[in-house]
């Protein structure tokens, strides 16, 4: 099998597995959306309305699991993710479409920034092993294990509440209606700064450490010595030889990090009241909103899959050796 065929088979298989898992998990779990909904309203809707809700949600029909599975695929292939229970009757696709750009925008950008920044700093620290740069290591190791929400909440307490430099929550001025105006974009940037900064700070350390370790390893490779022997400028050696090769494992980790984009974002979205897919998923989970849960999970998985695909190609572009192996 050729490289591309094998990759294609892998992606199709993974997508199938993820989509199926996505179908199975909510059904394996205890709990019932209607009771959960009534509970959530804490008396604001009458308990007698339970049956009406069941009818509404289409939970009254009896279908075998297999029938449900087939139906699920049929709808999915039509791009129909169903209607949300909690936000009835809004289609899941609308909710997801509303949340996804924010997550991708903010967390995606900050993950990329963290990756670039961390890789750059890690390159420096790794290259300058044995100098003052080593003293950055304890700081980095410390930040690599700081719980995100902890950092975020402290940041809010300090910068939003005490100093008032940034807003404490939201993704843009609540008085604005999204338009493509400078004012709106400025507001988005202003509101996104603190969340993005905290995401970057809490995730940059991992990149620094990973890159630093790879740099230390790669620096002792023969070809780096050859580069020195050629009398290349230190910049050319670091960037062209050491970092260029050390970054390869970082690229693979980056795919993994893309998985965390959505996972990590959940906490960020909670802490900063930022709209996004992670928090939507969290809400769906706590309210047993199957269709929404499935929709979010599906979108998350597929985007990770796409990210993996991109990273696969990036890796192949960066490392000519992989192009030949299977």
């Amino acid at each position: 099998m050729s490289f591309f065929l094998r990759r294609a088979v892998f992606y199709v298989f993974t997508a199938w597995a993820a989509i199926t898992l996505n179908f199975v998990i909510p059904r394996l779990l205890p709990g019932d959306p209607v009771t959960a909904l009534i509970g959530r309203m804490q008396g604001r809707i009458d308990s007698g309305a339970e049956q009406s809700l069941r009818v509404l949600f289409g939970l009254d029909q009896d279908m075998s699991l297999w029938q449900q599975y087939v139906e699920y695929w049929r709808l999915l292939l039509h791009g129909d993710l169903g209607l949300s229970f909690t936000h009835f009757p809004t289609p899941v696709s609308d909710i997801v479409a509303q949340a996804l750009p924010w997550t991708v925008g903010l967390v995606g950008i900050s993950t990329v920034v963290a990756f670039l920044l961390g890789t750059a700093v890690g390159t420096g620290i790794g290259w300058r092993r044995g100098t003052w740069a080593d003293s950055l290591l304890p700081i980095t190791t410390f930040f690599s294990a700081v719980p995100y929400f902890w950092l975020g909440l402290i940041a809010i307490a300090v910068f939003a509440v005490n100093l008032g430099w940034f807003p404490s929550s939201g993704s843009y001025d609540r008085g604005m209606v999204p338009t493509l105006s400078w004012e709106f974009v400025g507001s988005v940037v202003y509101y996104g700064t603190l969340p993005a900064l905290t995401v970057v700070i809490s995730s940059v350390s991992g990149w620094v450490l990973g890159m630093r370790n790879m740099m230390v390893t790669v620096s002792s490779e023969d070809y780096v010595t050859v580069a020195h022997a050629k009398g290349l400028s230190s910049r050319a050696v670091v960037v062209g030889y050491a970092a260029r090769n050390a970054i390869l494992p970082q690229v693979s980790s980056f795919t993994l990090a893309l998985g965390f984009v959505v996972g990590g974002t959940l906490v960020m979205e909670m802490v900063f009241s930022y709209q996004g897919i992670g928090y939507t998923l969290f809400e769906a989970v706590t309210t047993h909103d199957y269709p929404l849960m499935q929709g979010c999970f599906l979108v998350i998985t597929l985007s990770v899959l796409v990210a993996n695909l991109v990273a696969d190609f990036a890796y192949a572009a960066l490392d000519p050796r992989t192009r030949q192996e299977g």
């Binding site: 993820a18 092993r129 410390f142 690599s144 719980p147 902890w150 002792s220 965390f260 989970v285």
Partner: protein, 309 residues
Amino acid sequence: MFLRNPKALVGIAILAVFAVLAVLGPWIAPYDPNQVSRDLLQAPSGAHWLGTDHTGRDILSQLIVGTRGVLVVGLVAGVAATALGVVVGVTAGFVGGAGDETLSAVSNVFLVIPQLPLIIIIAAQLPSAGGITVALVIGVTGWAWGARVLRAQTLSLRRRDFVEAARATGERTWRIVLAEVLPNLTAIIAAGFVGTVIFAVLSQVTLAFIGITPVSEWNWGTILFWAQNNLALQRGAWWWFVPAGLCIALLGMALTLINFGIDELVNPRLRSTGMHARTLRRRGIRPRVGFTPVVRAGRPAVETSEEER
């Protein structure tokens, strides 16, 4: 040798403190962490070193008693994920062929499925998702990365001559895997283990914090949960919110430092500089690739001008 590495030493010291707290926690905690008192939300004092919470419970005691839960979860998840990763990864790498294809496919699927959301979904639905459950869920969902790295490494090891040589000597397969291949994977396994433990601790704390898992079992996440739900920061009760987060970061830092130590122990290239960092500094030598330091007896190192610094 390991103990001469200052990084590893610091890491081990921190970890040892936490381990002692984990084992002896309930006995050395000054108070019962559940014991409410009339000292509501007191700042740190002689009686309560880290102050009290909104019902007058002693925070230091919560922190001490909570250590065990954190370490156990980290350990169980780390062991579970590492074991799964080793079994799957090494098997896939070693057997090759269809077995490899299947196992790689499975681990790739697990790799692509976002872990934290999955953990949240599962943990949220389990009737009582206690610490061990969470640890197992983390372990079961978190092995794939290790498996992938180990598989790649095993593949390359499998082609090494010493494995062939062991076969040519007549070793049995299981022995080749256990005695020849695995020891060469120690650094990777250790790094994976440390990574998983940190991830598990962070996940557990996060799950507790967002209220997915029971808050009755004391762990550092539970403390943060109560602190956050009772507006510790808004009320200026830093002693309630800050220490638990610091402990988590310290634990992670300790593990990373130990991992550095392991790295430098198994990587001969790092060993010497790592161990002699202090001597080097004293003698003014900075080992650099590409520019060997020149130290003439009695004189300090030649300080060549460096546009790099």
